[in-house]
């Protein structure tokens, strides 16, 4: 596996705090702005970057991320350009882990082997592919692990103890616990339920367990981060980008800065999380 992911989680462990994992859509609203956002994330406090790969039919996403994908595609984003985004980011940052997240078809059409080679070459550390459950591991998961790219699986409230071992079997990097049955951007569930679920998963794996879906504010991040090894924020960031655009959908003067401000706030949340847990 690429070392960046494990190094980052080891460092966070010694700091005694959970990771802040930030999602944005590659190419939203255009390539250059998107690259600016990506570069601003680590300085604002993001520990791991989830780089969204736009897809025309995002079946597990709510309206905010659907629209982000449409903006990116309209701006000419392709899978090749999303890889290019990562390559440019790596010119100045070789430490922050990058996880590409999206749906399988664009990767399948690009060609699985060619995609994995190119992803490795530009410094991708992991993949999250929503529509590839363990039953489909031969498609991309096993080839990715063989090449040394982490395959991060989603576990959900419907993943019971009987099924968890199958879900965790070929998972590496971290486990992404989806806090609810639903699409991205729904309301955050009760943090106590989430911590119960995180502990349940930890009973089955030594991998870090990160939680996403519904985390929008520093307070959410703090509450979820008390039990989880990482907190994923996506829709809030994507919505911040959408809100900063001009009327015709172009990047506004504050687009990059406003995302950085939001992420700085979320970062204070994860940094306060374990203080709560220790109380």
């Amino acid at each position: 596996m690429t070392a960046r992911m494990d190094n980052r989680f080891a460092a966070l462990k010694s700091e005694g705090r959970p990771a802040l994992i930030t999602y944005f859509m590659g190419g939203d609203p255009d390539f250059d702005t998107s690259l600016g956002i990506m570069k601003a994330l680590p300085a604002a406090g993001a520990d791991i970057i989830e780089l969204g790969m736009p897809f025309s039919d995002p079946m597990a996403d709510g309206p905010a991320i659907q629209l982000a994908g449409q903006r990116a595609l309209k701006g000419g984003q392709t899978l090749a350009r999303t890889l290019e985004l990562a390559r440019k980011f790596r010119e100045s940052d070789d430490e922050t882990p990058i996880v590409m997240m999206g749906y399988y078809n664009p990767i399948y059409i690009y060609g699985v082997d060619r995609f994995l080679d190119d992803a490795l070459a530009v410094g991708i550390d992991g993949l999250i592919v929503v529509d590839l459950p363990p039953e489909m591991d031969d498609e991309l998961c096993i080839p990715a692990l063989k090449k040394g790219i982490n395959f991060i699986r989603l576990a959900t409230p419907t993943t019971d103890d009987k099924r968890l071992p199958a879900v965790l079997k070929n998972t590496s990097g971290f486990v992404y616990y989806v806090s609810m049955t639903g699409i991205t951007g729904s309301a955050l569930p009760d943090p106590s339920l989430v911590s119960g679920a995180v502990n349940r998963i930890k009973g089955h794996t030594s991998l870090p367990v990160c939680v996403g879906f519904g985390v929008k504010t520093a307070d959410h991040a703090k509450a979820i981060g008390a039990a989880a090894d990482g907190v994923v924020v996506g829709t809030a960031i994507v919505a911040q980008i959408a809100g900063s655009l001009t009327k015709d959908g172009k990047a506004g003067p504050d687009t990059i800065a406003s995302v950085a401000t939001l992420v700085r706030g979320l970062a204070t949340g994860v940094r306060a999380a374990r203080l709560v847990a220790a109380e």
Partner: protein
Amino acid sequence: MRFSMPSQPRGAKAYEELRVNQTPKPNSFRSGPDEDGRFGIFGGRFVAETLMPLILDLQGEWEKAKNDPAFQKELADLGAHYIGRPSPLYFAERLTEHLGGAKIYFKREELNHTGSHKINNCVGQILLAKRMGKTRIIAETGAGQHGVASATVCARFGFPCVVYMGATDVERQAPNVFRMKLLGAEVKPVTAGSGTLKDAMNEALRDWVTNVENTYYLIGTAAGPHPYPELVRDFQSVIGKEAREQILEAEGRLPDLVVAAVGGGSNAIGIFHPFLDDESVQIVGVEAGGRGLEGVEHCASITAGSPGVLHGNRTYLLQDRDGQILEGHSISAGLDYPGIGPEHSWLHSTGRVEYVPIMDQEALDAFQTLTRLEGIIPALEASHAIAEVIKRAPKMRKDQIIVMNLSGRGDKDIFTVGKILGVEL
């Protein structure tokens, strides 16, 4: 380093290699899918983890129901007394005379309760939903035929029903929208994308992933994640089983040609499947050629698409070089889907079934021809199959036989056709 796009989709290329080198002729064309839901390289279970446990439950329940005599009896009773089965196999005498070639028979699925073959599948799946203890039904619809059939069985069995329908389709299929509402269903217009069937399916999947605990997704076509393609096919195969017996009864032999229109492909697989191992029977699926195959204004997934992954299965899709799904076009809302059921993709790859396109205009002409010659107003979907029959019958001998699935009636389409013909209704 720069990344350029490949000159053609890699999936397609890999597939062509597979096709040449590895697609063996199976012993039977009727034994699929395998336990992972695959028909060759097609099919599978490409869904979010949230849905996986439910899909496995559904598969288990289906295995049990298939072999449960009580389930089969309830299905057969509803078929006979609620749907009106068996549907007639009708010799289209005047159309046959008019074309001057092969004898043409229609399997009259348009005479079913609710006016199309869709009800066969809905009755079967509602019984499964009941067995699974689900309390809420969701469905997607294009032309509204599946939405109406879903709303119908939900009324009959007392389930709340939500139907997702593209906003464009809500507009062009107003009578069916009203029908669904009369039946007590909630119709949710979907504005995402181009507001047609694919977008309705995305939205239904989003609902399902949110309400997975109590909700049953009643998919209308032989596509989606395993076991849907298999169970929808099995519920629709009653069409072919009856047709095969009926033609043997009427003519004392099997037909030379079986024809059906293909959107997602449930009426087609329903009539094809029982004939697949009859070597002497040629089988043709008719795709929507729309305004022509050169551009993107068609829905001919097999004729002009390439293999990809969408809505839970690998199958032929209309997509660009980046794997983004394209919006199709067809005069018929029921064929307006950029994919096709995975079993059809496999039947194409093995060469067992031939898939051909029919253009909007040809379908429209066939619609009028049949109406005038036989006194049957066909659905625009079925009109595509009629157009292919009109092309082929004159080239066949008079002692040859064609069986075509007349999958739906055209009452719902009179507004669309009227508009094109310049008639104010």
